[in-house]
Symmetry: C2
Subunit: 351 residues, 2 copies
DNA sequence: GTGAAAGCGCTAACAA
DNA sequence: TTGTTAGCGCTTTCAC
């Protein structure tokens, strides 16, 4: 305009108004070079303290924010890690995420949460989406992603699965609950109370459920020789619950305790029992799995197997970091659960 | 190596092995120019059908994935929208997110979920983090972000808050539940059953809670002239519950029904009552708020005010799109809840 | 219909 | 200590 600045004005006019200020704008305003600004904002040495302060104050004034995309484009890394959750509204996933988040923050990584909505297709889509975002690794809190997908994606980016996969997948790490131990804890607790007729109620034939179920059978056979373990489900869960209630009402040989695959199923069972006029734990002891927040909301409060969720999330991200750091061999960790005893279990009436 | 390709080899050697294939690699392999590849993969016209197919198959073969960062760097937009959740493990947030997700997908936007962990500081940090990622807008599912932060950030990027803010903030949109109507539905239901001594149990003095509380008082005064509305809380919630139970056990003038600020508090109350040997709904009717998943797990199942959560999420993202599309004036939407009647409410014993 | 060249905002290697 | 230069991978004119 004034003609005073004779140097070719390379900055398009529109930039100064509409767009966010760039490193270039800051350099111009501060009267230094782009690289000086770059060094200053990243707190790197190479600029004098005075210059840095000046640059920073100018940047502040202009409302400058560095463009992460441009930076990661040139650096070849994004500083992003993803966590793919099977289901948002659920305290198991929440607590796990806590552990992942904490560890991510401690390691200067930004966490991007994706939501699979309990839908294998969406899960796959979200996983692709995370990759497209350029995450440097993903923690998958779900065992629903098919092994071949895991293997394929695991070749591109480090992957840690929290959960029990149907099979080992080479190239990826896993953190899993020790389902066998969980079943053992539950059954031992019930046996120690004097129960002998114990049933298992399950709603799934996925690996984790199967492990609990098999461990249940085994421990029952060990601890209660001569008694055949009773299993209900996984099909027709509603019918299974109805049948259990029928047994309790009509048959002297009905189970006196039920160990369920998870808390949700336990809650359904407890609700149905109460609706049928059965008293818990007097007429039936119930043990859940997951120690979710509903355990303390129900009456009686639910005895449940507890997984150290936050700790599992933390371990998952640590394993991911190891992978990003170059570990080659696979790691598979199994975490021991514990039993949280509450009011839904007691000695059997005629024990 | 062979010296046959005499043109200066500009691609560094390391790229071809370690790094992900780029548009350049695809162009080289397909024997076309970079721009041809760019057009082909974006399905733009400008390349012949044959060329496109060829390029696509080569890209597929190489396992090419376009680099979102590079693309958005040049296009000046990221196609990202953020949703900041106050709390992950919670069906209210889950269902809201469903609505947001669906609408985002329909509009070709990628959703990035951030988690505030019920901590205002983290909430603020996550919001900054989302901005740094370059989101084009954010849906904040929380009313905990301070107005001045909202205003500041709202100047950089469109913002929609789902929840009831302590004050209007210029430049941002809101989607809120019609708390007054919710309270009205609850009280009218109880009055229609014959209740006259109705208490309100609240655990917060935040705007949404206050609106419910005030609306409660008003509707009680309208419908039951001469009766002073009884309010317990928001301080010392545990003590308030104990006091209510004391009243029920000792005083003839005890309330026969309680309307609570949310389901969690209702669950606490119901649990405490059952622990004290009180029967629900015979001795006390209880109405919750949020119609969360626990309502159907409790016994008796909980009558609760239901917010159309998925719909609210959808509206929030639609409003965000309007803003991104250029709307200037603020919009504030209030959504009508409905009442889900279940077994925790009944006519009072001596009604 | 296709290719060459410029440049998005930034960093990193180098030169001054 | 500072400024210059050359890209990161991609899109987008603009010639051909």
């Amino acid at each position: 305009m004034t003609g005073l600045r004779s140097a070719p004005e390379k900055v398009p006019a529109r930039r100064r108004s509409g767009r966010a200020p760039t490193i270039h704008d800051v350099a111009l305003a501060a009267g230094v070079s782009k690289s000086a600004v770059s060094l200053a904002i990243r707190n790197q040495r190479g600029v004098s303290e005075a210059t840095r302060e000046h640059i920073l104050s100018v940047a502040q004034e202009l409302g400058y924010r560095s463009n992460v995309w441009a930076r990661s484009l040139v650096q070849g890394r994004t500083g992003l890690v993803g966590v793919l959750l099977q289901d948002l509204g659920n305290s198991y996933h929440r607590d796990l995420t806590f552990g992942v988040e904490d560890t991510a923050v401690e390691n200067d990584l930004r966490l991007v949460i994706a939501h699979g909505r309990r839908d294998p297709h969406r899960m796959q889509a979200e996983l692709d989406s995370l990759l497209a975002l350029g995450v440097e690794g993903v923690v998958i809190v779900s065992s629903w992603v098919p092994p071949q997908s895991l293997e394929r994606i695991g070749r591109r980016v480090p992957l840690v699965v929290v959960g029990r996969l149907p099979e080992r997948v080479s190239g990826i790490d896993t953190v899993a609950n020790h389902d066998e131990l969980g079943a053992k804890l539950a059954v031992e607790h019930l046996v120690s109370l004097g129960h002998t007729r114990i049933a298992h109620l399950t709603g799934s034939s996925r690996p984790a459920a199967m492990h609990r179920r098999q461990a249940f059978s085994e421990i029952v056979r060990n601890l209660l020789p001569g008694i055949e373990p009773q299993i209900e489900g996984p099909e027709h869960l509603d019918a299974a619950i109805k049948y259990l209630i029928f047994q309790l009402q009509e048959e002297a040989s009905a189970p006196t305790a039920v160990f369920t695959q998870n808390d949700r199923i336990a809650a359904d069972l407890v609700g149905a029992c109460l609706d049928a006029g059965l008293r818990i734990p007097e007429q039936l002891s119930v043990v859940g799995y997951d120690n979710s927040s509903v355990c303390r909301m129900l009456r009686p409060q639910l005895t449940s197997v507890d997984q150290p969720r936050t700790e599992m999330g933390r371990m998952a991200l640590e394993m991911l970091l190891e992978r990003i750091g170059g570990r080659i061999e696979d790691r598979h960790i199994t975490i021991a659960p514990s039993l949280e005893v509450r009011a839904s279990t007691a000695a059997p009436r005629n024990g």
